[in-house]
Symmetry: C2
Subunit: 471 residues, 2 copies
């Protein structure tokens, strides 16, 4: 799980890479030659999986510079590992020994917001929240809202097909990306997709690239659809006395035919961690909280909020309430936002990302409790419950290797349970290195063959983030 | 554009195919051995492009039978051409000499409608309207609504990534398909995608298959997302005195930040053809009609309908009106529905499908008029105007080969103009054979290389509908 020391042979190899990069790029695009800086770019937040020691870290300012880097890597047969802000959780941006890490953070321009076409064109290093703000300034809205939105980049969101809170009603990153400029595995700089509202000209390379974690091409520009700004949301909270009861509340919302604009779950461990940090007094009131939102306009929104509260009650809530005002609603969602950092205070967190059918959320939450008990692992649950996308957070004491090993075993049990319940191993965080085994468990061996065939077709020299997604 | 006669060698080849199919399939799955029946399966509605003479036509009843057919074709090196209802307009289902045509029409079961997961699982031969009806019976809605919805199959809709009237607000077929069962180019029967609300496990083979016109796999089962039933729509009509003015009306709606649930255009030629057939008196009132709908609930819908009418006025409408009731609205949309059959009464129709940025609709409509005038071709315009997706209909007198040639020249001019205006050659009808040249004009040669690489990766023996999409 840490960098291996460089052998003399490795050093010669790495120096050749640096020399070639110096010829191909302006001086300010090559940032990292010393070990400290390089270490900061050696992995994303997927620290539970291995990472290597890059030969160089570059920060290109243009698509042509990215192309130049890929061509150097092609010439020398060196892997290229693209990265955005490094907020990924599966090691998709983890360095490989001797690779060139390409940070796209400098390419951070919002190139265009077009209200008539309802599109934005951005460079990959634009921060998610910055795109949202630029769109809002023109009366538009970019929905995908991963928890990392204040830090993560659109390029990284594209690489992982990032989701978020809005997805239960508005879908994920792939639902918004309509065009890409990419550098291919053979070093060509090309455009795929479109900037029109519709288009079926040829194979869907845009969809294929989204979620491919830099293994099929490096994204240098992104065109996304935007939506019109929406009505203010109304928040509904439901308190439950068990995870299984809260799962029934989720199913009751779906059974009522309601599509809320958010439907999140926080368990007792989250509530206690937030209370311990911010003294919000939440854990005295509930074991599990469901937080829903509706963004239907006017009276329709009022009716939907009441219908959600009624569904919570039907699912067995001990208490449900429609927030009276924005302040009350914000306080409730603050707990959701604070849960992850509050839990991180307790020790290293291994974040799970399984997604199961909505009707199985209750059962899956029970299986997670069982896995935690079986392996003696402290597991808190945050969930995009309305999507069936659960984030059990496996927390271990810092430096306790035995506890880490137990967490990995509980993690495997959770993956196996999700597959048994008709779910998927990865809802929105990607495969990277962490879930490669899970992917192979989920799909047919013949589908793994399809993965390898497409990987070879688009990256014939095997230089694009090799070893991620498919071994 | 017609079948070539079989040589004695061809006959021997075809008999070997039939003999192998007889061994692999039950008798009732092989339907066509005589010329008349075979001719009916030799092409779709893309009769303006060539089609060949199949060796056999089969109608499998199960996915395993489809797999058996593909394995026979692999053994004998024979192309396999899948087809749904044959309503495609680009020759994507046109037969190749000596191929096996696989009609999926018998596989027409709605296997599952699940209101809690909001999904449907169907066989590929299910008619679009039948899926919509099955969903509606459970309070759900399957949005994609191509004009062919009463006849076309979901499998065909998946193959072409079909669109329709709803797309301006609700997207196209690809936005709804989340899982597929397919027979691969190597004869494996596998599942790709998911049945959960979210999922990022591996490459997006579902998106890649949608719109690939049977060239990358044969679809044997489709899982789609459904939406909750929506509020009744309100219709708004705007009358304009020129195509260019109507184009300005479209832009005005977009500039006002409105996303209508439909925004269609009908020109004078359509109105006159409908009047000549059904005597609706439309062409006396307008040169061009825009028809919009809103499905926002309650007061929000009333406000949006008024805002659309105001945008039409701002764009230069001579008259605009919010329909008072469903009857008046239905009468207006009846003209839209009747336009295509009314025009087909006048002679063979070559249907275009370009899509341009919304802001360029007005200019593109002008360029279409210019192309018609330059080549002496009668061109009527139906358009999903809110998407910028235009269907200029090039109408020639039956049997007039010179007029047909002129229509092809006007068609090429229209494609060139769409590309010049930043559009795409294909909005929702696919590439098939008709738009292969247009696709090559639209994308970079390196992107055509990507197409060929993916085609080879997924169809290594070149048997899946060869020659469609990519030559």
């Amino acid at each position: 799980m840490s960098e291996s020391p460089n052998s003399p042979t490795d050093t010669v190899r790495d120096e050749a890479v640096v020399a070639a990069l110096r010829e191909a790029l302006p001086a300010d695009a090559i940032i990292a030659l010393d070990d400290d800086v390089m270490a900061a770019y050696a992995h994303d937040e997927g620290e539970w999986v291995p990472f290597g020691r890059p030969a160089a870290v570059v920060r290109p300012a243009t698509a042509e510079q990215v192309q130049a880097v890929v061509r150097v890597c092609l010439d020398l047969g060196v892997p290229v590992v693209p990265r955005g802000a490094g907020t990924g959780l599966c090691g998709g941006a983890n360095a490989i020994d001797g690779c060139v890490v390409v940070s796209l953070a400098r390419m951070d321009a919002v190139l265009e917001i077009d209200p008539v076409e309802s599109i934005a064109v951005v460079q990959p290093g634009v921060i998610n929240d910055d795109l949202r703000a630029a769109a809002a300034a023109r009366g538009l809205w970019y929905p995908p809202d991963p928890a990392s939105a204040p830090w993560s980049t659109i390029g990284g969101n594209v690489a992982t097909n990032a989701g978020g809170v809005c997805c239960v009603k508005y879908g994920v990153t792939r639902d918004y990306v309509i065009g890409l400029q990419i550098v291919t595995g053979t070093g060509e700089l090309v455009r795929v997709g479109r900037r029109t509202a519709k288009g079926v000209a040829g194979y869907d390379f845009v969809g294929l690239l989204v979620g491919s974690e830099g293994t099929l091409g490096i994204v240098t520009e992104v065109t996304v659809k935007l939506r019109s700004a929406r009505a203010p949301e109304t928040t509904v909270a439901g308190y439950f006395d068990s995870l299984v009861a809260a799962g029934r509340g989720v199913a009751a919302v779906a059974e009522a035919g309601i599509t809320p604009s958010a439907l999140e779950l926080l368990d007792r461990h989250c509530l206690e961690a937030v209370d311990a940090w911010k003294n919000m007094g939440l854990s005295a009131e509930a074991d599990v909280v469901l937080l829903a939102r509706t963004d239907l306009p006017g009276e329709a929104g009022v009716a939907e909020a009441q219908a959600i509260a009624a569904a919570f009650d039907a699912g067995g809530a001990t208490f449900s309430v429609v927030a009276e005002d924005a302040e009350e609603a914000d306080a409730l969602f603050a707990a959701r936002r604070l849960a992850y950092p509050a839990l991180e205070r307790l020790g290293p967190v291994l974040t799970e990302d399984v997604c199961v059918p909505r009707a199985r959320v209750s059962e899956m939450l029970g299986r997670i409790e069982t896995a935690g008990a079986a392996h003696g692992v402290h597991i808190a649950n945050i969930a995009h419950a309305g999507d069936g996308n659960l984030h059990p957070l496996l927390i271990v004491p810092a430096g306790d290797e035995a506890a880490k090993a137990a967490a990995h075993r509980a993690f495997d049990d959770i993956i196996a349970a999700a597959l048994e319940l008709g779910g998927t191993v990865a809802g929105e965080h990607g495969i990277g290195l962490l879930k490669r085994g899970g992917l192979a468990d989920e799909v047919d061996p013949a589908v793994m063959d399809l993965h390898r065939a497409v990987k070879t077709a688009l990256d014939p020299h095997g230089i694009l983030n090799p070893g991620k997604v498919v071994a």
